[in-house]
């Protein structure tokens, strides 16, 4: 009884506790980084592993009880398309008939999505389906028990879906031996590559960027010939836009936290990147870039998105971006400035390998707070495997929102006038390679994917679920130190690199760096041992 009452008030308490902490009224403006994440992946190549049997919508429902009518709460990140109510009504007509359920599609908007996401999960609000990804910290939420394990639920509520997703993918998304999310089966690459203005390169006869040295030479040429142009597009998110791209180019296994270093070729050798000569090299390179005027002096206060300066012609290149977003920019430029030319050079050409997205990258989970987990999963199966559901939620209504011409998707009108653009519901997670329709412009991305396919190597490391409960305080403190002392270094703003690094290391150690690194290394070693990675 007491416990029940406690649960009821949990939502109120959490909200108010937060209000108490005065974090509530924050008019944070981080839409820039969010917008970047939005297009985490748009489309790609059909998955060969996908079976064809899921095609026909199974009319006979499985062993779940659908006698009671329920409304499912569905949560997705980003902004809802204008025509969502129409689509939702259409879906509900079908879902009502098939599952005796209706669904409410909710969107977080990109502004402060991360805070909202965390609140949704921790406030105990009843949610039936929520988007998961590596960048929404799926692994750590799953580890801490935010989601429902669906191992036993799958054969009962969504047997077709269980067959449709390859066994290896179910294996890959497991956290502590349990499945917490339904992965997307669509294969794509979100690895980075240099994005640069090819027309300027030709005009001034500059080298094509393919590694650090040629990229620097390219920027030198831009600076000398186009003094009013920014050689590189940057914003205040230095960590993601300079540092992690630099390390990706240096074959780090991923965006590792706490200055940890693990190379793709030697995944069992863990070292401290911070304080190493390798890092010093990075910082000195950035210092040089800053001195040459590539990195603006007030880079830490720039709030633009990374892509806007490219499409508006203010900047000539991007250090790194993924094929999809490159293609988006290219399409945009082709209509506004057809005389410009944008080119792409994937890092795979330098590093010699490219990793397709890990199944964790797009998925849907059922939070612990769900009241109807069975129905939720059954509905999600419909969303993925039933062509009517799938195409309606991905492309809208045929004839009204889009048409199919020669096998290609075509938007009716413009993205402004049309209330539902391609993948308007951000349905990256329930893409079904068999039902996917591609824009003509997507052929460019396909070409890049094909090139990367030749050098593909699996991403074995995203499945690593860190458990930071034992060093949470240190982690929070360290993030501060990083922002205050390391970011300026990584942006080349500090005159004396050696001294700056020394100060940073000293402060980081004070915040508990050694404890964090030791604990992280232990967990990493356990992970590689468990997965048999050598």
């Amino acid at each position: 009884m007491k416990k029940k009452a406690g649960r009821k008030t949990l939502a109120t308490l959490t909200t108010t506790a937060l209000a108490l902490s005065l974090l509530a009224g924050c008019g944070g403006n981080n839409s820039n980084s969010n917008a970047n994440k939005g297009s985490a992946g748009t489309e790609g190549k059909t998955n060969t592993a996908a079976t064809t049997e899921g095609n026909a919508a199974p009319a006979a429902e499985t062993g779940i009880d659908t006698s009671k009518k329920v409304e499912l709460q569905f949560y997705m990140l980003g902004d809802a398309p204008k025509d969502l109510p129409i689509i939702q009504d259409e879906i509900n007509k079908m879902a009502q008939e098939d599952l005796n359920a209706t669904v409410k599609f909710n969107y977080t908007s990109w502004t402060d999505w991360d805070q909202k996401y965390k609140l949704l999960l921790s406030s105990g609000q009843a949610i039936d389906l929520i988007f998961t990804a590596d960048w929404t910290q799926y692994q750590s939420y799953a580890k801490r028990g935010a989601f429902l394990a669906i191992d036993d639920l799958l054969p009962k509520a969504a047997p077709e879906l269980q067959k449709f997703v390859p066994e290896s993918m179910w294996e890959d998304v497991k956290v502590d031996g349990k499945i917490y999310t339904v992965p997307a089966t669509f294969k794509e690459y979100v690895t980075n590559g240099f994005v640069y203005r090819e027309d300027l390169r030709k005009k001034y006869n500059l080298p094509a960027p393919k590694d650090l040295a040629t990229y620097e030479a390219y920027m030198d040429g831009i600076k000398a010939n186009e003094p009013d142009m920014m050689p590189i597009s940057l914003n205040s998110d230095i960590g993601n836009n300079l540092h992690y791209i630099y390390t990706e180019l240096n074959k780090m296994v991923g965006a590792l936290p706490y200055g940890m270093g693990v190379k793709y070729e030697t995944p069992t050798t863990v070292y401290s990147y911070w304080g190493s000569d390798e890092q010093k090299e990075e910082l000195k390179t950035m210092k040089r870039w800053a001195d040459k005027g590539f990195i603006p002096k007030n880079v830490l206060n720039i709030k633009d998105t990374m892509q806007d300066p490219i499409t508006s012609g203010k900047a000539a290149s991007m250090f790194g971006d993924n094929p999809n977003r490159f293609n988006d920019m290219k399409m945009k430029i082709s209509t506004t400035h057809p005389e410009w030319e944008l080119a792409y050079s994937p890092f795979g050409r330098t590093t010699g390998y490219a990793t397709p997205v890990h199944p964790i990258h797009n998925g849907f989970a059922i939070p612990k707070s769900s009241k109807n987990p069975e129905r939720a999963l059954a509905f999600y199966q419909k969303l993925v495997l039933d062509k009517r559901y799938n195409q309606l939620t991905q492309y809208g209504i045929e004839g009204k929102n889009y048409t199919v011409e020669g096998g290609y998707y075509k938007l009716v009108g413009t993205s402004q006038s049309n209330g539902f653009s391609r993948e308007g519901m951000n349905g990256w997670a329930w893409r079904n390679p068999e039902f996917m329709l591609f824009d003509k412009g997507f052929d460019g991305v396909k070409a890049i994917f094909d090139e990367l396919d030749k050098i593909q190597k699996p991403d074995l490391f995203l499945g690593f679920a860190e458990d930071y409960s034992s060093y949470q305080a240190e982690k929070a403190a360290l993030e501060q130190v990083e922002k205050q002392y390391l970011f300026p270094l990584e942006a080349g703003l500090v005159d004396d690199v050696d001294k700056g690094l020394e100060t940073f290391m000293q402060k980081a150690k004070q915040a508990g760096l050694e404890k964090i690194q030791a604990e992280w290394t232990k967990q990493w070693n356990a992970y590689t041992a468990e997965k048999g990675i050598k």
């Binding site: 308490l13 506790a17 924050c26 230095i238 007030n298 929070a476």
Partner: protein, 339 residues
């Protein structure tokens, strides 16, 4: 009165209307009467009045006191699977992150320092401007000035940050373009921590001066003309009239406003700092306050326990501060104390 005194965990806005209603002079007698007859008698005797008070009381109970239970989160390890009271108790562990990076003292000092500057400079300037405006005799000019001073209050911090960025940005900011016109070299404001102490205070004043000025202007309007007439007849010139009549009459307004702002001295102007400084770590030494620090720390490692702990630290500090100041003021002059 006594009831409120015991229960007031956090000083609330409820005190203002009561204070404004001119109760303090009656307080003494009221308290004495109550002592004799007891609280229950008082309750029955003034039941209609208490009934009228009930909605307000409920409002604060539900919105301010009941949620205080959530403070317990500060001492537990948040867990998705268990409710508030069955979550594991971890003592002061949630507070650790505040001092782990060794910046707690600096943050506290920054927060208090900025707020003191805001409160003192803000109030003094507001009083000066209010007096100057009230002495103006040309009506349309007075109204116009007042409106112009009030307008910045409606500018959002996001827009302010854009304005500031466009003035001080190194490559094509207004300031550096202007300096170049005069043949001077550019100034890199965004890498000068010391400059921001002044800039932040400056923009705070620019934004809030009009608002607090209106409060004082209202108090000045409330001062009876008779005092001034009498003073004029006695031959007091304008400065004497201001110094000996207006300023002393504003004292109680000043003290009430002071006490209110002291209670929230640990709560920085989050929007102002967050928007102007944002991610620029170079400036943190002089511009980081508790709110921005906590926000940044917990934005990534979101943890209900740690967030509550930080909030509790701020509230507790503010509580102690306002109790102390109120105590001192009551010692000096009982009439001016909040409670």
């Amino acid at each position: 009165m006594r009831y409120r005194k015991r229960k007031s965990g956090i000083p609330l806005a409820i005190e203002l209307p009561i204070k404004g209603a001119g109760l303090p002079s009656e307080t003494g007698a009221w308290a004495q009467k109550k002592k004799k007859k007891g609280f229950l008698h008082e309750l029955v005797h003034n039941r209609i009045l208490f009934l009228m008070l009930l909605p307000t009381l409920l409002f604060f109970l539900v919105n301010s006191y009941f949620p205080m239970v959530g403070v317990y989160y500060a001492f537990t390890q948040f867990d998705f699977n268990s409710g508030l009271f069955d979550a594991p108790f971890v003592g002061l562990k949630n507070f650790e992150f505040l001092w782990k990076s060794g910046t707690l003292v600096k943050l506290t000092l920054n927060t208090i320092g900025y707020n003191l500057a805001f409160i003192l400079l803000g109030n003094v300037l507001a009083i000066v401007c209010a007096i100057l405006l009230s002495e103006l005799r040309i009506k349309w000019f007075k109204k116009l000035t007042q409106s112009i001073m009030f307008l910045p209050y409606f500018v959002s911090f996001v827009i302010l940050s854009v304005i500031v960025y466009n003035v001080f940005n190194y490559d094509n900011g207004f300031l550096n373009t202007l300096l170049a016109q005069f043949g001077a070299g550019p100034v890199d404001v965004y890498n000068k921590p010391s400059a921001w102490i002044f800039l932040i205070i400056l923009f705070y004043l620019w934004k809030n001066l009009g608002y607090s000025m209106v409060i004082y202007l209202a108090s000045i309007t409330g001062i009876s003309e008779e005092y001034y007439e009498a003073a004029k007849i006695d031959g007091a010139h304008i400065f004497q009239r201001i110094w000996y009549i207006t300023v002393p009459m504003l004292k109680s307004t000043f003290i009430v406003l002071l006490l209110f702002s002291l209670g929230s001295i640990m709560k920085g102007q989050f929007d102002l700092f967050y928007q102007l400084i944002g991610n620029n770590g170079v400036l943190y030494n002089t511009t980081d306050i508790l709110d921005t620090y906590v926000f940044r720390s917990l934005k990534v490692t979101f943890d209900v326990g740690m967030a509550t702990a930080a909030g509790l630290y701020q509230s507790l500090f503010g509580f102690i501060l306002i109790m102390t100041v109120n105590y001192i003021i009551r010692k000096i002059n009982d009439d001016y104390a909040l409670f």
